[in-house]
């Protein structure tokens, strides 16, 4: 056998291996590719198109251009849902992040019964939003509920919580704090990834507790904080179950979230075009805030191993 034919044999085998690889890869990806086209990309484009139509369930489709969007901007109920969603997101997310971080810092210590405490804080995150909502519906009950009974002990006459248009949204925010357990776990994992020698070095340099927290813990944890806040914001913009089950958007629409508004337009009034426009506004808001957050991250997120130009 000549050197030449050996080489071509080798090349042939490599080529067939490569062809086989590519074929296998696309075979493996085939279900996902079909699913992506049929259940994500197709519907995504379809819903954008739909948002320019006045469309009921396959009865009449009239092209209205930006009509739906123009109507939305003038729909006081939509604007209200926008405001409520924004308040919910921008209050519950920072509050939840702070609570989760505080608990994580505490449970990063070697305290007796550590496993028990971690479970206690995490457990509410395991159950369904429906179960949480049904439970808190009773806890917020003005007459027999847990909270007002506790307030009565200290001599305060509690408000009607979810039945009071001033207190309904704050009630849902308070309730959301019960489920910070998953975030807490992520912060805990982040804290355990901080090398202890950094604290020792800071201590030797004479840094006190507060300085060590601001100059070691926070920078080292900033990627975790960043990631958590982005994910929580995206989820908070889509809040639905709580208001749907507990208040049905009320009282006086004070807990009408954007998704609840969308749900009503689409599935109670079958205004699919209008509801699609709502979906796209929601999508645009989520994209904007996520991008804004990612762009700003270079200012305050510290990635180890990355030089900072200061």
């Amino acid at each position: 056998m000549t050197v030449h034919s050996g080489l071509s044999d080798f090349l042939k085998r490599r080529i067939t291996q490569r062809t086989e690889d590519v074929l296998t890869a696309y075979l493996c990806l085939l279900p996902w590719i079909i699913g992506f086209l049929a259940f994500t990309l197709g519907p995504l484009v379809f819903s954008l198109v739909l948002s320019f139509f006045q469309a009921d369930l396959f009865t009449r489709n009239i092209f209205v251009g930006f009509g739906n969007y123009v109507d939305l901007v003038q729909d006081p109920l939509f604007l209200k849902s926008l405001r409520i969603t924004a308040i919910y997101a921008f209050v519950s997310v920072p509050l939840g992040a702070a609570t989760a971080l505080a608990v994580a810092l505490l449970l990063n210590q070697k305290v007796v019964g550590l496993g028990v405490w971690r479970t206690v804080y995490y457990l509410p995150s395991v159950i369904s939003g429906v179960a949480v909502a049904v439970l808190w519906l009773q806890i917020f009950n003005p007459r027999m509920g847990l909270i007002n009974n506790a307030l009565k002990v200290v001599g305060i006459e509690g408000p009607s919580w979810i039945f009071d248009s001033t207190w309904a949204l704050p009630s849902l925010i308070i309730m959301s704090l019960w489920a910070v357990g998953a975030n807490m776990l992520l912060y805990l994992a982040g804290l355990q990834g901080i090398p202890t020698h950094l604290y020792e070095a800071a201590k030797i340099d004479g840094a006190n507790v507060g300085r060590r927290f601001w100059h070691v813990t926070i920078p080292m944890l900033s990627p975790t904080i960043f990631f958590n806040v982005v994910i929580s914001l995206i989820a908070a913009f889509q809040f639905f179950t709580q208001s749907f089950i507990m208040t049905n958007g009320g009282p006086n629409n004070s807990t009408l979230s954007m998704v609840l508004f969308l749900y009503r337009k689409a599935f109670q009034q079958t205004r699919f075009g209008y509801a699609s426009a709502v979906a796209w506004v929601l999508f645009a808001i989520i994209i904007c805030f996520t991008l804004l957050f990612i762009r700003s991250s270079s200012l305050w997120v510290y990635y180890a191993g990355e030089e900072r130009d200061e």
């Binding site: 739909l50 457990l123 009565k152």
Partner: protein
């Protein structure tokens, strides 16, 4: 081993505190929060066993003189909870099967094979994780209703046989932790690409499969929005919709409602306690909420 709280407790004296005092100090900080998180559970348990007269009593009675276990049975029979339970098991089980089938294949391709378009496709996978589902909801509803799938389990199950971004991502991360030399050795020995997946990678990544199965089962169990959109008849309801329907009944007793809320959470809580290690590992690796 000195983090900031450690020293927060001996801020004035540079001396190390006696371990007992340190523990007491930490417990003083941990206990109030832990009780706040625990009280709703205790209240739910206590309320579920009460008789109607006791529920409206103020100040509340925490330990009812007689715990009415029969509340659970009465409530179970009043609603159609046996049906809801079976439906939820079926939907969640099918979700897990569908996701494992489709996502293992996709994750393997992304983790192990070099092919044109891989990086772009992977970015697409990641970006679908960020996509709010409301954007595709209405067209999907229209498609499924054209297919006659409304008020069947199909819209809740079929799409998952075509991959799930989160599971693909998680499995890919696990596959990457396994040395590629194993693949190469098998390939040289004449093993086919898919053979590598089934004979070498999958046996080594069974913990990853467990994490994916556990997560998706729990999620499907807790899912409310999708079944709400697609299911109308109560005989198809999963437990979340069943619980919602139970509230909607006129004059339902609060103790029955609490009893069934407890019953609806038993499976996720049980799964969590039995598989804690996998659960936490999965959350930490992917950074996605459980």
């Amino acid at each position: 081993m000195s983090s900031f709280l450690d020293s927060a407790l001996n801020i004035n004296t540079r001396r190390v505190w006696h371990p007992v005092f340190r523990q007491v100090g930490l417990l003083v900080l941990v206990l109030p929060g832990a009780s706040l998180f625990l009280i709703p559970w205790l209240w739910m348990l206590s309320t579920a066993g009460k008789e109607t007269a006791l529920i409206w009593k103020t100040p509340p009675v925490w330990i009812p003189p007689v715990y009415h276990w029969e509340n659970f049975i009465k409530a179970w029979l009043q609603g159609d909870f046996a049906v809801y339970y079976l439906n939820t098991f079926y939907i969640s089980g099918m979700n897990v099967i569908g996701i494992l089938f489709s996502s293992v294949l996709a994750a393997y391709a992304f983790a192990r094979i070099r092919f044109p378009g891989r990086d772009i496709l992977f970015v697409v996978v990641l970006s679908t994780m960020m996509l709010p589902r409301q954007v595709t909801l209405i067209p999907l509803y229209m498609i499924f209703s054209e297919l006659g799938w409304i008020n069947t389990f199909k819209p809740l199950i079929v799409p998952l046989f075509f991959g799930d971004a989160f599971s693909i991502f998680l499995l890919r991360q696990f596959f990457l932790t396994i040395s590629r030399e194993l693949d190469d050795a098998a390939l040289i020995d004449g093993c086919r690409r898919l053979g590598v997946l089934f004979r070498i990678l999958l046996p080594l990544t069974s913990p990853a499969l467990a994490v994916v199965a556990i997560f998706n089962f729990t999620w499907a169990w807790n899912e409310f929005f999708t079944p709400l959109i697609y299911l109308d008849s109560p005989k198809l309801f999963p437990i979340t919709l069943g619980l919602h329907r139970f509230i909607g009944r006129a004059q339902i007793d609060i103790q029955f409602l609490m009893a069934m809320t407890i019953v609806s959470t038993l499976i996720p809580i049980g799964i969590f306690f039995l598989t804690q290690r996998y659960f936490i590992q999965g959350i930490v690796i992917t950074g996605i909420k459980g």
